[in-house]
Amino acid sequence: MSRPARIAAWSGGLLVLLVAVVVTSAAVGPVRIDPVTVTLAALNTVVVPTGIAVGTATIPLLGWGVPLPTLEYASVFAFDVPETHQVIVGSVRLPRIALAATVGFSLAAAGTVMQGFFRNPLADPSIIGVSTGAAAGAVAAIAFPMLVPFGSLHLSAFVGAVGTAFLVYAIATEGGRTPVATLLLAGVAIQAFLSAMISYMLVHSGDSLRQAVVWMMGHLNNSTWSDVGFALPVTVVGVAVLAAYTRELNVLLLGEEDAHHLGVEVERTKLLLLAVASIVTAAGVAVAGVIGFVGLVVPHMMRLVVGPDHRILLPTSALAGASLLVATDTVARAGPAEVPVGIITAALGAPFFLFLLTRREVHSL
């Protein structure tokens, strides 16, 4: 099979799997709904923009109202679904499932890129401190809302994440070169510093301690379509850019000097990969908190199945990551008591990773 056909076959298969997992997940919960009704209710949520209306937005702090163009939407389908079921699927479960898929997609894609970039099987999306940065931003927003100018928890986490990645990159760069080992070490040091800051903030967080700790565990409860609206566009655009650079990523695995001789602008490509992978990670982490192991385990699993070529590894890992997080989040919410999904991914991911390790399936990239 030629490579494009292989990529299409694997991606198509995993996409079908994702749809199946989504439908199953939407059917599972305190109220069981049959899959057909779920599918119809899900289709009912599909909307298309039909026109532009002028609304009014209020600028925070100043209280001025300004005109803001907004899109008008119309539903495409109008299947006959019981009202309660439509609300449960369309407004409660689907946003959460869509967010889980988005976050899983972003973390697995970013993890694949980071492992290739660092030529290190232990790399995960947060290796240069993105998650810790997001946590610092989020905890600051939760514990000291007065100090955070932009109000939004998501935005604060996102800015913390991207800011940390930029800081680590700036520290590790000298004379136009960014050695990978220096990046790793700078990342470790910055993470240690930020962890100290987070602990300090937690100590003084008072009543918001519980909220902050739950955020850091990684959670998807109370997700809304606006969360999806925040994370999905960034993730889709970011992963598309990464996908365009998979050939460079392959060549970079040969080492930077070889990559240079094969026509790759090494430093520019490294900066782009690192920046985009960090932004994609930040988008996921900002809405869902620190969800471990998806970005580490999924690329390893897919590498065993499809091989090391990033042209196929990146899309398949991203899709598999989406399915995996939707599935684990279903477990997290369907049990007797709701558990933060980060606990489930780590609790299932770590033993599975150890199993692969002892089987010597995972030993290198």
């Binding site: 060549v251 040969l254 070889d258 240079h260 094969l262 026509g263 790759v264 602008e265």
Partner: protein
Amino acid sequence: MITVDALEVAYGDVPVLEGVSVSVERGELVGLVGPNGAGKTTLLRVLSGALSPDGGTVLVDGTDVHTLPSKASSRLLSVVPQDTHLSFSFDVRDVVEMGRTPHRSRFSGPTREDREIVDTALERTRTAGFADRSIDDVSGGERQRVLLARAIAQDTPVVLLDEPTASLDVNHQIETLELVSDLVSDGTTAVAAIHDLDLAARYCDRLVVLAGGRIVDSGPPDSVLTTDTVATAFDATAAVTTNPLTGTPTVTTLAAGRDDLEDPPAVHVLGSGPTAAGVLARLEAAGVPTTAGPVPRGSAVSTATAELDLEAIVADPFGPLSAEDLETLEGRVRAADVTVLADLEVSAGNQLVLERVARVTPALVAVESRPFDERNYAGDDAAGSYEGVRKLALEATTGDVLEAVTRAADAADRPASRRLGSDV
């Protein structure tokens, strides 16, 4: 094609290349030779653009590679690294296909031409047979050929090779260098750091000898590979002779031992082949006054005597020695304290010479590495007389000939003791 002028490179305060100037013509295979740490790899890295020089200029095809974007420079020159960090399991074909990277745009897949070029590269390097195997699962030698295939797929006018034969067995060394020569005869310009001097001499159009970051000598292998150059560059004692099969220079390095003997005995050497050349070089290196002969004209030994600048009697191979030469020989053997027979070939023409030598020499040492049968062209009769002479001699190897010569000379000062130990 490549012009290097007054190149200066230092790692920190340590100068690695000092004032190196080289030029390489289009379609030439130039070998960089020199001891470890001479700066060969550094020079290649500067040529490839991977390392920026501290001073001087490098022009490849008229442009400074250090100012080119890597896409442009990688269309101009390809690099075959000594080894590569292939610690992940790409297929061999994928690795070779990476050579096409500079020629492809971001969003297009490989064209038919790309595929054909990759196939040809796999065929030429005889790696097609395991193209679908993982690069982790092939041997070091095969991996080296895969890297060469990648460079061929890159299809550049200049190829730089860093020790392309270092991890290969004899057979694949030759195969690889034949392939590089083929590329060069197709018009490619190649610069290769090569450890093996014999291979370098055999395949390169020109050699550049580097030592201590400077160019010691450069030119065609015949003129560059001399005992003097090898001694200067490698700080080693070597005999440079002509390989009878390839007709190119071959270097036999001997243990570095320039510790001169105090009051060395004078030695005369008769013999043939690499053994005699080795003995001569060894004695010369230890500062022993040495003469040689008769040596066959045009043989390895006669080249060695010329290289070492020794007084030698040169005669026609297998011909009888002229009366004049015989006279000179007898004089030299008498004048020497010890005579060394080093793989002496016995023919009808020199059988008498051997007996004459045995009669007049004060002491004899025999160094033999080829069996006598292979060196005897004069029949069974000669075997008997050679055996008789050899019994008088102290046996030695090329390695301990110095010691043997000294001992034989000492023993000759006490003739009685020597005769007591002998059957004759």
